[in-house]
């Protein structure tokens, strides 16, 4: 039982917003569309909902063409970024609106609304109007309105971005738990890569209307398909070293004029056609190995800045040749500014990208 997007294109006048989006996923999956603003993720979600129509392409629910149905007929529910609660109705009627519209008898509505309110902790608020509620409460009402219809597909448009940081963390796990207990399929839109990583079964990373990569969080994190995905996912962001090339089995960078060897433990995992190509090296701060007491022949760099982030330290290290690297180390590692430390790149955490196509060399 699949949901399939078939070659979706969308233009607004001359502006081409979605390019040949092709996606398919299973029932009960939690799929996130993530990307920077303007990447098209919200437009894609709205096409899912039927609030926009694709310029070309189709949507299928289980091989049934859905894209020519009105939004109200697709058995979907949507949680909007600004909640879109009906201001003149109280919480009870907000939640029950979809049922009322479908002609569900009053007693049944009452039972179902109360059930949902109980699950969401809204029972005391049923008589209140939206303007009397806090942001978190409104969000739960929006959720309740969607949940009570027991839809086949849940759509969420950045539902957490209007909440304060602490509430956001709590709601992340709440949302995921609801998804599991309701046994529903969810398509979730966010610009926050952490939300995407923590909540999703699979993530579609989007940029400029194109899906850059679609995979599980681990796949996306450990095997980013291109430079954009590598840089977008993961915090702190991946280090990027340009003008890299392979010669005599070693990795060189020549961005600063002179050539320096980059201390990658092994080049075997990168495949064989690395020669004569301009490459870009990507390595996450977590995969940069720091040795406070460097061996004589290893590459060393100077620590310029140390930031303590709770259980880790973030180091800014200047390499000979001018490259600045970020490295994440244990907080108790004995380092100080201006110290010279040894550096090594863990091959399993290092990625090489073709400088022209920006694609991950291992994905070719």
């Amino acid at each position: 039982m699949t949901i399939r997007l078939d070659h979706i294109n969308k233009s607004f006048g001359d502006v081409h917003v979605l390019h040949d989006v092709h996606l398919s996923f299973e029932e009960r999956e939690f799929v996130t569309l993530v990307g920077p603003s303007g990447c098209g993720k919200t437009t894609l979600l709205r096409i899912f909902a039927g609030l926009e129509t694709a310029t070309s392409g189709a949507i299928f629910h289980n091989d049934r063409l859905v894209s020519n149905l009105a939004p109200g007929k697709r058995d979907i529910a949507m949680v909007f970024q600004n909640y879109a609660l009906y201001p003149q109705m109280d919480v009870f009627h907000n939640i029950g609106y979809g049922l009322r519209v479908r002609g569900v008898p009053k007693e049944s509505i009452k039972v179902q609304v109360h059930e949902v309110a109980r699950v969401l902790g809204l029972e005391d608020l049923l008589q209140r109007k939206p303007k009397q509620l806090s942001g978190g409460q409104r969000q739960r009402v929006a959720l309740g309105r969607a949940m009570v219809r027991k839809p086949w597909l849940f759509l969420m448009d950045e539902p957490l971005s209007n909440l304060d940081a602490k509430l956001r963390v709590t709601m992340r796990s709440e949302l995921k738990r609801f998804h599991i207990s309701l046994e529903t399929t969810t398509v979730y839109v966010t610009h926050d890569q952490l939300e995407a990583m923590t909540m999703s079964d699979r993530i579609a990373v989007m940029e400029r209307g194109v899906i850059q990569q679609f995979g599980t969080p681990q796949e996306i994190y450990n095997h980013p398909a291109n430079l954009f995905v590598a840089g977008f996912i993961g915090s702190p962001p991946m280090n990027v070293v340009e003008k890299v090339h392979v010669q005599n089995g070693k990795l060189f960078e020549r961005g600063s004029g002179a050539s320096h060897v980059l201390p990658v433990s092994s080049l075997d995992s990168f495949g064989t056609n690395l020669a004569d190509r301009d490459l870009i090296l990507g390595i996450r701060p977590q995969d940069v190995r720091i040795d406070p007491g460097p061996a004589a022949d290893s590459l060393t760099g100077t620590i310029e800045l140390i930031q303590l982030v709770g259980s880790e330290k973030l180091l800014d290290i200047r390499l000979p040749g001018g490259i600045l690297l970020a490295a994440e180390v244990r907080a108790d590692l004995p380092v100080r500014p201006t110290q010279e430390v040894g550096i090594e790149f863990d091959a399993s955490g290092a990625h090489l990208f073709d400088a022209k196509t920006q694609r991950n060399v291992r994905h070719e």
Partner: protein, 301 residues
């Protein structure tokens, strides 16, 4: 010390001066009506008394009684009126006429504008962008230009001297601004509410009546108030379209008081007061809405 005292004194004096200025200006603005009220409560003997007093020496409601009961015997030959056509006895009919005509044309303008504003802001079709600017243009056309063609139409349709002519005539002066105001207002209503309702399964029509109209109420009320005020206050259309004395709206009828040999100012001022009271009530009840409505894109006078 000295300067501190001066500073503190200034702090008290400045607002005091400001309040004084404000009170004076308010008095000047309201004085004509205060004086009208005062005059209306005076018996005719006191009208030309010198010095004129704001609070009447003897307060009397006799003028109001005359107007409201309209009994013919009050308007005898002593006042120079022909008993059968004494203008003031028709006051209550005029009042009713004005109510009917203002209400009717407001209803039409509001319904038409609300539907149109929703359509123009929610759907896409060629020419929709012209509508608001066209309305704005229409609003700027002075009624003296519209009145004669419309009069000829009413004549040909045989509607002159019937209240229908005013109901329709007033639409031409209230519709443009209502359209402009409601368009500006609907533009500001968030689409998400309607989208949520559509996803909930409501039909477009249902969304319009159950979701959009309640949200649009402030704008609709502002437009309705504007429309009521403009139609109630109009003189020109009433003067041109209507003939028989019973069919006149309040504004035109009251001007007839001048045609007697002797002008009864007390009576005249009483009718002025009664004519303003509905507007004042509307004004006070909906003051918030009026200012909000004007804020929604109106810079005209």
């Amino acid at each position: 010390m000295n300067s501190q005292f001066g500073h503190a004194a200034l702090k008290v004096i400045k607002p005091a001066l400001a309040y004084a200025a404000l009170l004076l200006i308010s008095y000047i603005i309201c004085f004509p009506l205060i004086w009208a009220l005062s005059t209306s409560l005076k018996p005719s003997s006191e009208l030309s008394a010198m010095p004129p007093r704001i609070i009447p020496q003897t307060m009397t409601l006799v003028n109001y009684k005359h107007l409201i009961t309209g009994k013919q015997q009050y308007f005898g030959a002593s006042q120079g009126y022909q008993p059968s056509s004494a203008p003031p006895q028709h006051f209550m009919s005029w009042f009713l006429n004005s109510c009917i005509v203002s209400g009717g044309s407001t209803l039409i303008s509001i319904v038409v504008s609300t539907l149109a504003a929703y359509s123009v802001t929610r759907f896409r079709y060629p020419g929709r962008r012209l509508v608001p600017y066209f309305s704005l243009l229409g609003y700027m056309v002075p009624s003296i230009i519209l009145v004669f063609p419309l009069f000829m139409v009413m004549t040909r349709l045989g509607l002159t001297d019937s209240l229908w002519s005013l109901v329709f005539g007033y639409v031409s002066i209230t519709l443009p601004f209502c359209m402009w105001l409601l368009w500006a207002f609907f533009r500001g209503l968030p689409l998400e509410l309607e989208e949520a309702a559509l996803i909930d399964g409501a039909s477009r029509l249902r969304v319009f009546f159950e979701i959009v109209i309640p949200s649009a109420m402030p704008g609709i009320i502002a437009a309705a108030i504007f429309s009521l005020i403009v139609s109630w206050n109009d003189f020109l259309f009433g003067r041109v379209f209507m003939n028989s004395i019973e069919q006149l709206p309040l504004t035109v009828g009251v001007m007839l008081f001048f045609e007697g040999v002797h002008v009864d100012w007390g009576l005249l001022m009483a009718s002025a007061v009664l004519m303003t009271v509905p507007m004042a009530i509307l004004f006070m009840l909906m003051q918030r809405h009026l200012v909000a409505g004007f804020g929604a894109g109106a810079v005209k006078g």
